[in-house]
Subunit: 162 residues, 2 copies
DNA sequence: CCTCATAACTTGCAATATGCAAGCCCTCGA
DNA sequence: TCGAGGGCTTGCATATTGCAAGTTATGAGG
């Protein structure tokens, strides 16, 4: 059974793994949630080979995780890969992975931990769907990611396309 | 970069994907959380090839997700693979995947959805860390999985080893 | 108008990972 | 002593990934 044959399994975990569990897919979604939209931005951020990236983006578009939308860059026609609602809804999976990774693994180089900033209460919390300061569910628009190994500034999440 | 080189990435999501994102690993953990412990039970439940299963189990033991514990089966020495605390802590990832899969994918054959039964309030909820009936966090011991395509009876989660 | 640069791919081929089938080892129960 | 598992390992075929080079389209600069 290949990973993609899992997509019609009776178990929703199996189906989710069938779509999200291929190599690179979750990392592409992580970066897409942080605002990356262009082919070579994904390539340089992830260090993925072009043919694989091309293949994954196409499959993710087919699966409805990303939308390929044309736009103009100074007159030139280009296209970018924007999150769909299904792609944005992977956020809780990313939270759970981040929390697990933080709890059970160590980075090669020590660094300050990833945190989520909840704009509604202006406090930092561990990656989660729920603010551990105010106890409220964190709405996507109120969520910023602080990843100190990349930047001292917290980063807002990308908005999905309609 | 191979999946396993990700394990020392600065990003906790990258590290988690490095350990959990290999093919079969999350499915093995799903079944281990449902109580599967033996080589050929995993094999027959998952339909995974023996050499791959052997390889994955060994890596998961190295990674501290499972513990290989000897036991006696009617006098015969055997060993089983039991969840560690780190393996049990993957539960929120499984919840998030189940919820996403239920929301955004369809099974090949229609069937009733997976539900979590919260013993503390005796109500069914969608797969989640929090009961959507009583609003309380669901403790592992109070959680049963109802997967109607497998059995009409809800199933308790396996206890991790100390 | 010609050249160059760039984004976004595609193609060819080598290296890994996965799958299938067969075989091995150990122990118990008959 | 023999046979039947469980729990692997080994060999070989297929599929997936990675790297490097080539392709296409467009627009900016000369």
């Amino acid at each position: 059974m290949t990973t993609r044959e899992q997509v019609s399994a009776p178990c929703p975990i199996g189906r989710a793994v069938g779509l999200l569990g291929e190599r690179w897919t979750l990392l592409i979604l992580r970066n897409a949630n942080l605002g990356t939209t262009r082919f070579d931005a994904f390539r340089s951020e992830l260090g993925i080979a072009d043919n694989i990236l091309s293949n994954r983006l196409a499959r993710m578009v087919d699966a409805g995780l990303l939308a390929r939308v044309p736009y103009r860059d100074g007159g030139r026609p280009r296209h970018e890969y924007r999150l769909t609602a299904a792609g944005a809804d992977v956020l809780p999976v990313l939270h759970a992975l981040a929390a697990w990774g933080q709890e059970h693994t160590k980075p090669g180089e020590p660094s300050a931990p990833m945190q989520v900033i909840h704009r509604a209460c202006d406090h930092a919390t561990a990656p989660s769907d729920i603010c551990d300061h105010c106890g409220e569910p964190i709405r996507r628009e109120d969520e910023l990611w602080l990843r100190p190994w990349r930047s001292a500034e917290p980063f807002p999440l990308a908005e999905p396309v309609a």
